[in-house]
Symmetry: C2
Subunit: 703 residues, 2 copies
């Protein structure tokens, strides 16, 4: 026993040592890898062959990408340490930014690579073609247009230019998986229950926030012009554009903590739903503002036609992207519904799912809509319909795949954000503008949350309490979307100043607001799960761990839960609107698109009998008998609408906040990790309140 | 009952109908998506703004990519149909090529998009810088060098140019996951058992094949020159280069059928191992041949120094890439060994694994080595060490992730291959060259397999029988690697002719050889599993399906198997070489790098006691008692070296080939699908023959 303890101790010491060595090795490699090939470039310059140069450039690209990979690796190792030690003041994204900052500082001040001589051609041509062929000593070299050169680059450090990615990478490669994942994990009962409020915050709120920020910034900019602090043009449309891009909230840090602490699900749903949807609104809004171009020379003035055109564009692009996303989701659901035997080949199934989701993005972009928005609604549709048709293995696989992609993309963006604070060459930090922006962002968020909550509370029976409102105000972090939108175009003075300011806003909100979430939660007395309640949860879920037969398991645990917890509030908001939608969805869409749902023969009027029989899948009949479908989350008892099932019911029943149990902490923690995991798996079922009882379910329960 | 049957029938009819609609819809969308934005380009041309153009180009890119996504979707749906109906004459890669061909024909002959006017600049400069700034009416436009324009493009169809990917995409994005996956799934006992033969085929064989093909092609080319059938230069180095790239075999089709039919594992290991390793040899060989450049004007002659340089480069690049790959693998193993608690966060674990594997590629490329080769050896190392340290969930996740990436990349490459036959604009089809190449490829393969087998059989106790040799000869398909290597550079006449010829070689081998595998197997009387034996297998694995506790389950089923099947041949080849390696690996590397393996305290000499205790993980002691480690696949009985465990032993015991059982076929099929799946899971354990019995295991068994 003694020997074992000493082994343990020495092992721990060894591990810490090795950790240190590894970390320093990582940093060393990343920096040396980045600098060495660039230095070689000089010696290779003698032999000016195109292939050599292309090879060098490829090596340099590899080295640059390697920096980010090693940064992410470091982030993962550190964040593991934080998770293991339960530090909640810094989320992985915040950490990624810090590491990015450090590497940015090193690259900027420690590595000096002289700029490659660039050739400026006189105006041989009077247009800018996409491809240019240059005749160099008999050979034709092909050049492709990269964009307009902004010209005012401050330093001549080649290294900094090299680590700068094409801004479109963020929008076309990194954002889609993040947004899709958000949509795909949105399949939560509470999201649909709070749909009305979420839509209000996301649409009305974002527009309010955009215009408030825009107006305030216009005031600020006008003041700056008077004081002579403005170094270039800054029009009202620029202000509005700033308002639009900075209105996209991204409370990933806050939500991670909410999830970990099992904070109130309504609050979670409100925040998550708002943040997911306002990204979409913000993208389309900003592109509509850019499209506002009054005709003639007299630009930057008000013109009704241009405004209408912008408005039309907003509606057109949004509804187009929305329909496209939903359409692809439905096609995928149909395919997985028709090719039921695909379930036997999980690889094919997963690949198909992945490809169809990706094609949504491409299709939307090819049609001139916004791919990111389409992908979001595709994700929601996939989660709602296609997910039910997948085999359990593929359900896990797709979830895990998009979880991984989301994780990598998110941390990549945040570490790039940190890096770019020092490596971006056209920063314009204007103190007045920054102060104004922070104020405007604060006021804009307040103008979104408080008035809307007031209005919504008039209609809601389940009020949004003031501490929830404060929390939502506090959780208005800015993140990946704001960054991707503002780095997309940094050609003008206004855009450069916006970009620099946005970076600071993101840093501040992620570090300060994100880091202070736990404090804010306890300050606002927002109850979350105690360990005791979590333990009970684990008990409920421990049956379910293997994840093979969760449907059957569900119904068992549900019946148990039903007896245990019946205190669910009967006050449900938005029911009037969504009962219509829910009925339609449950009676017609689900049976047509998925194998869950009741057979159409029971939901369609008798006159449509043959059609109903034709369209109903044989499994639907089985489901009818076995109560095996997705909607079985909703268990109705004799006309009562108390909703009862595992995860959610416990949450509202959790009154013993902050009580801690005296169990062995380490084992418990591991158990909790599993429990959390299961919670996510189980938490993604849509259930809506209904007070008219459905014949098949209630009959079944009465039996 | 009657009603149900009629519902079934009508449902089936409906499904077929819907399938047809879907497929035609897919094709329609893919083609219209590809053509419509291109046509819009014309109308948009009025407003020549750079941003507009960039946007158009982005939309076009999205549409092009969409074609491929929809192609892959179609491939998946069709291949599912084939798998479901058990058609074995066409593999998914062959099918992807066919669809690619069809779309290629459509794009070439049905869609005519006039070429965008290209501007050719006179030689304003006398070098070719990487970046070019062009002054167009006051604004500086930035252009980046894309490469030398070959000039002799036959058609002016813009569409064809647009669907052409940058060749480096294949090498840097699509090949790495394929190669990594190959390495990662190479963790099979029989691979290590046949290591000697595999290395011989892969190294000696590929070099032989390369030179034989090179010489034959040189003869062919010389003859063509005499007959005046050659339209350009074709040097001896070009012939050798052709030999190198066409020597990379890719029997993915054959192996899929082998796997499905459970063909002899030794044959499987030989073919798979050879194909994986000869890819690496072929890459390095071809780059070494390109590097052969005699100095001075007198190029394309023999020069000893240049040859030595090439040879040195071959050795340097190969060993460099090898060491890099192994090193990164070991670093990952160390990290996962040290950060044991990472197991609690599977997402972090999987992300880390993915990033480390990717960084191998980037690191190798940044250092000037070959990323693909490094990734291969990294994959092998990861499978051998890191895999053991991962949590079961992460083991599944990583396997599934790379399986998916491999599947997508492979089918993408093959469908692009099909497309490119019609869309590539510089094809040179020379009948004589093609006939010569087919002959040379055949002779080269024969010169690899038969003489080497003869030599190897001298040393092997478990001979490679002649029917195995014929099968290996037959399974010399060419695939992704040959394609990626030959599309990389199509600048000269010789390279263009090679590319066209290689395409035909790939098509022929994949369709004809791949499609005829089942026929060839029965023709060569190579026995494979009957359904009876498979049923027995299912019985063995059915316990194991959930995959949670496979280690413990293994030992149970193994002990059972041990009693049942003891007829395993005792003749083991290569034991003398690999026993040394195996002992070292098992006694020192595994304990240091993984949690499996015996504690170092038992394997190191007593004088190193403190060091051993310091380095041994506490889990190793537990493992010692529980026989829980990876090597427990190796069960030794009293000095006998008969190796006994589930999957493999049954296979050699399968004598009742082609007997069919009278069980319900459909249920059985599903069972078999599961069984196969399990087989893969279980089949990836390394075990090596040892006739000196290891104390811990034998002791345990004797107890």
């Amino acid at each position: 026993m003694l020997a074992k303890t000493s082994v343990d101790g020495s092992l721990r010491a060894l591990r810490t040592l090795r950790l240190l060595v590894l970390v320093s090795l990582c940093v060393f490699i990343s920096v040396s890898a980045a600098s060495s090939p660039a230095q070689e470039e000089d010696s290779a310059m003698e032999n000016i062959v195109t292939e050599k140069k292309a090879e060098e450039s490829h090596r340099q690209d590899s080295a640059d990408l390697l920096i980010f990979i090693l940064l992410l690796t470091l982030t993962i190792l550190t964040i593991w340490l934080f998770k293991h030690r339960r530090f909640r003041f810094l989320h992985e994204t915040g950490l990624a930014m810090i590491y990015g900052l450090i590497v940015g500082v090193i690259l900027r001040y420690a590595v000096q690579v002289p700029r490659e001589p660039r050739v400026i051609l006189p105006s041989c041509v009077n247009s800018s073609p996409a491809t240019l062929l240059v005749n160099v000593s008999g050979k034709l070299y092909e050049y492709t247009l990269k964009g307009v050169n902004s010209g005012n680059e401050m330093t001549d450090n080649e290294m900094l230019r090299k680590v700068t990615f094409d801004p479109e990478v963020f929008f076309n490669i990194l954002l889609p998986p993040i947004i899709f994942h958000a949509g795909y994990s949105l399949k939560r009962r509470h999201f649909f229950q709070n749909m009305g409020s979420i839509l209000a915050y996301a649409f009305v709120g974002t527009v309010i926030s955009c215009f408030i920020i825009g107006l305030l910034m216009y005031g600020c900019v006008t003041l700056m012009k008077h004081l002579g602090r403005l170094g270039g043009d800054f029009f009202f449309t620029d202000c509005l554009f700033f308002g639009a891009i900075v209105s996209a909230t991204d409370p990933v840090t806050v939500l991670a903590i909410f999830h970990e602490l099992q904070v109130d699900v309504d609050l979670y749903a409100l925040l998550f739903g708002e943040s997911v949807l306002n990204d979409a609104v913000s993208v389309v809004l900003s592109s509509s503002i850019v499209a506002y171009q009054p005709q003639g020379d007299n630009s930057h003035t008000f013109e009704a036609m241009a405004l209408l055109k912008s408005l039309g564009m907003f509606l057109g692009v949004f509804s187009g992207s929305f329909s496209l996303g939903v359409a692809t989701g439905i096609v995928t659901a149909l395919i997985s519904f028709l090719f039921t035997k695909l379930r036997d080949f999980q690889l094919l199934e997963t690949a198909l799912f992945f490809l169809m989701s990706w094609s949504t993005f491409l299709l939307a972009e090819a049609c001139g809509f916004t791919g990111v928005v389409a992908v979001l609604f595709c994700g929601i549709t996939q989660a709602h319909y296609t997910f039910n048709n997948l085999s359990p293995e593929s359900q896990d696989r797709t979830k895990q795949l998009f979880e991984l992609l989301n994780f990598l993309a998110e941390n990549f963006i945040f570490s790039y954000m940190g890096l770019t604070l020092f490596t971006f060459q056209n920063h314009i930090f204007n103190t007045m503008f920054i102060v104004g922006a922070f104020l405007a962002v604060f006021v804009g968020r307040a103008a979104n949350i408080y008035p809307l909550s007031l209005l919504l509370n008039l209609g809601r029976r389940n009020k949004i309490r003031s501490n929830f409102q404060h929390m939502m105000m506090f959780a208005g972090l800015r993140g990946a979307m704001t960054f991707a939108l503002s780095i997309r175009d940094t050609a003008t003075y206004a855009r450069q100043m916006m970009f620099s300011t946005n970076l600071l806003v993101v840093f501040f909100t992620v570090w300060i607001c994100g880091g202070g979430t736990t404090q804010m939660l306890s300050c606002q007395r927002i109850r979350h799960f105690s360990k005791n309640v979590q333990l009970r949860l684990i008990y409920c879920f421990s049956f379910n761990r293997v994840g093979v037969d969760s449907d059957q398991e569900n119904s068992v645990s549900k019946q148990r839960d039903e007896k245990t917890y019946k205190r669910r509030s009967t006050k449900q908001e938005s029911a009037w609107l969504f009962r219509i939608w829910y009925n339609f969805d449950h009676n017609y869409l689900k049976p047509i698109l998925t194998h869950s749902g009741p057979p159409l023969t029971t939901t369609l009027p008798p006159c449509c009998g043959p059609l109903a029989r034709f369209l109903t899948s044989p499994q639907a009949y089985e489901n009818e008998c076995q109560l095996k479908d997705d909607d079985s989350d909703l268990i109705l008892t004799d006309g009562d609408i108390s909703l009862t099932y595992g995860d959610i019911t416990v949450s509202t029943d959790a009154t013993g906040a902050h009580t801690s149990s005296g169990l062995a902490v380490d084992d418990l923690d591991r158990e909790l990790a599993y429990g959390d995991h299961e919670l996510v798996m189980r938490g993604t079922r849509l259930v809506l309140p209904m007070d008219d009882s459905e014949p098949p379910f209630t009959d079944h329960l009465r039996m």
